[in-house]
Amino acid sequence: MVSSRLLFDLLCEWNRWAGQRGKVLILIVGFSLISFVFAMVLRLGDVLFFENPDWVGSEADFYTLSSVYDDGRQAGVSQQTIASLKDLPYVTDVAWLRTRTFDFRSNDYALYQPLALVFEPHLVDLLQLEFPATDKRSTGVWLTQRYWREAFNSDPEVVGKYLTHEKLSNSVPIRGVLPQQFNRIGPWSPDILLPADYLRYVTPFAPSSTLMIDRFLRSVPEYYGFFKTRRPIDVERLSQEMRNNDFSVQGMQVESHGGELNIFNGIMLDQKSATMLKQLWTFSVLLVIALVSIFSLNAFMSFSNRNLLLADEYRVLQTIGAQPIDLVRPVIVASVIKMGIIALISLGLNVLASHFISMNVHVTRLDLFSLDGKYPYYWALSLVFITLIYATAIIFPLMSLRKKTLFSRVMGTNRGYKQLLVGQGSLIFQLSIAIIATIAAIQISKQQLALFAPFNFNTSVQQVVINHHGGRLPIESIEDVRNDDTNNALALSVAPFDKPQTLSVGARELGFEREFEVHYVSQNYFNQLSAQVSADTRDWKSGVVINRTAQQFLAENRFNIRATPLYLGKILGSHRIFGVVDDIPHGGRFKRDQPTLYLPLSTVFSTPQSYTLYLDERMDVSSSGALQNYLDTHLVDAQITSSSTLKAVIDAQEARAQQLFYFSISVVIITLFGIALTLGYQVRSRLQLEKADYGVLIAIGAPFNALLIKACKPIAMGFGAAVIVTFAGYMLLVHLGYLHHVNLASAINLIALVLVGLITLSAVVLPLLKLTRSQVIDLIKQE
């Protein structure tokens, strides 16, 4: 016997949802998802549009002056350029930073060329950087926490010790260890922080030629400028103006690196990641809009539906002396509990998301979802948002209990022209999203199928990553290192197998532009991996090898791969196409169709920081004298940092993609469930409203087909409109350049249409069958 009022309220609510509990569960999961994605939208939006990076103490608005390459990578500008900002009347404050390796040594620790973040001392005031001993900011060195841990074994007594440099007569004191935020600055993971003065000692000029040193430092394009203004400025206009100026330093010729000067809003050092985050943000915003519309509609309908039943119960309760609060209280209690569950699930999703982000280290802001940062506020805000939607979904139908107009309007069950339009509109909207979600689901599942595909190359090849501190491996003599047992040659690439560089291929004049993956590889690379190439690679000295996907992409863009050389940007220039190789899944089989090109090692223009060797699995790397000899002859301090089979490398990539797969397929499925439920409500209430018509039709002997046609007509029209809306949306996105060209009649799209169509049809047929089985007299009887 339940005597507690609270428990009894809950029992009643539990009973009232009998037969609907699965729907309530989907609602709860849907709302949790909304809360999670909405909190992410807020947090990401903050990071992207309002917040300065976490290593910057100031909350003021800044601008960044740097240059940008064609592919979006950033580079520095000269000090001269940055100094010119000071002449602008509205600029109030300017400072810069740059990076450079410094060959510092220590008596106690083995250091090798730490990467220094070099700062103009004024930068500390401008950005309000917070780190120990800022008062001694013009001399000395600071260690980042990571470097302190890795190179100094977290030595607590490190402050006050000295580093030496062969070009410095005095040794440099260690001032302190930087806070954690300095571990990652833009795209860099610096080792130390160093005042600008030390740059004077590492120029090509003798210490005595101060004039030349000054000129040199002012003219090298290595600096990132930050400035504040009196009033907001138009960055496009100022960029344009500055591009037209000549900032060269008299008496100093410095080669340009090919980037174009550009001013950014905010502190911007890594535009590429920022762009990626912006895409994620845009996608999340769209997802929130879709989810909110579906699930608020769903909640609204399920509560409306329930209230019709509740109205009878309420009338009975009134006769035994219940008051309105007695009816509302159970709903409130149950809603509070549901909100609690929603909060927990969305928190759980957040934990998963931060775990996922920490696995993908290329994201610059690891603290994005950190619970001790700003995230909890946004999370709370998103819960308030959800509560508001939920409360509206409960209260609106309660109010419309007396006036049923609102209910029937949303359900499309009113005969009024306008009401019908609104009902039909929500139907079209939901079916459109259902079609998109189904296409996404099939596409994602198809990627999953790729995991069953056999490898088209030899995955048992070993990959060995070699780091070094100088020198260059001669490709010609690599053939010298043969495995004594297997007589198998080694192949060589610059970047590891799974970490290619990227390059923007094509140009506006060619009518296409797309990011390609680029691998610099030795001539016997494909041979070593047993990958099929269309031409004999023994003759491969120049030209690029492209993969099948790249070939297909170029063919689709009417590019003649036999006749026309491929333009690869200012630095690499044009290359003819040497041959086509089968797609090698560098990033795992999920990412199989990635346009990729392979360039001969000889085209690498700068000295590679590391090399990757590919050798037979039977070869023991550590005991191969020939290999060690080869490395030691050509490289300074060569170290084997990792060695694993390509199978292991690919497995790691695929495991990560697998997690993303599970997440996205769940989102899609929950969305589809939500839509199916709403659709069901809509169809059933429409049938309910017209049941007398159906009764009459049955009474006069109409066949089932006639009933079906009558029931399906509005839904079929909605479906047709949804197909048009979806594909028109596709074309619009392609037109606006957000999507690559899509084949509307692709098998996936057609399967999706058939699936959604079938589900929609069954949503009509099932309740109709039930209706025809009930007594005709009951149908016709008016209430």
């Binding site: 507690s4 009975v316 009134q318 006769t319 035994i320 002396g321 219940a322 008051q323 007695d326």
Partner: protein, 226 residues
């Protein structure tokens, strides 16, 4: 015996847009404590309307309704609910049990809105009333698992849960076969012996004959009393 309720020139009109329907016009009568009253009359004559007013469910009437020396029009919603809960028990033609609650929970329901009853006494009291209607063995059944007569007995038990002074029954036997109907009307009549006032709307002349008083309604007016 003391007068429990009194109607003075009570009129109830419904308007559905254009037309006005006079459901009751100038109805006056009084009922004493412990009296049994039968309201008879053809369908549409205003019987249910009259009962709704007596049961404090309808306030849209003209005229005066006095219950326990209080003018019903002077009571606010909360006081009305309070009176309905303590002083009035309802029995309907179609039982109107809460379908998702068990027999026991349905009977306890009115007690939950009555602060004077200790929560620990719910079970005991419900058992006692269910015993008095002969349904002690169906505590955990859902209404849908009971026959019509059983459901009506649960409804009567629910009406008696707070020991009201007035029981209103609107065609309580209308949905039942004659044998079961007889048992139900016997049950209701027996309440009067314990001092409860019973007002019953019925088509059954035999039931009406057993009542102390009869009122015959025709087109919203009392045709002839006694």
């Amino acid at each position: 015996m003391a007068e429990l309720l009194k109607l003075d020139k009570v009129t109830r009109a419904f308007s559905d847009g254009t037309q006005q329907v006079m459901a009751l016009s100038n109805v006056s009568f009084s009922v004493s404590e412990g009296e049994t009253l039968a309201i008879v009359g053809p369908s549409g004559s205003g019987k249910s309307t009259l009962l709704s007013i007596l049961g404090l469910l309808d306030r849209g009437y003209k005229g005066t309704y006095t219950i326990s020396d209080t003018n019903a029009a002077a009571l606010d919603n909360q006081q009305l609910a309070h009176l309905r809960n303590r002083e009035i028990g309802w029995v309907f033609q179609n039982f109107n049990l809460i379908s998702h609650l068990s027999v026991l929970h349905n009977v306890v329901l009115p007690m939950r809105y009555n602060r004077e009853i200790d929560k620990r006494a719910y079970h005991q009291r419900a058992l006692a009333v269910l015993d008095s209607v002969g349904l002690k063995d169906k505590l955990d059944a859902k209404p849908s698992q009971l026959s019509g007569g059983q459901q009506q007995r649960v409804a009567i038990a629910r009406a008696l849960a707070n020991q009201p002074s007035l029981v209103l029954a609107d065609e309580p036997t209308g949905n039942l076969d004659s044998k079961t109907g007889n048992m139900i009307s016997e049950l209701l009549m027996s309440l009067a012996q314990a001092g409860t006032t019973v007002i019953i709307v019925t088509h059954d002349d035999k039931v009406a004959a057993k009542c102390d008083t009869q009122i015959r309604l025709k087109d919203g007016t009392i045709a002839h009393g006694e």
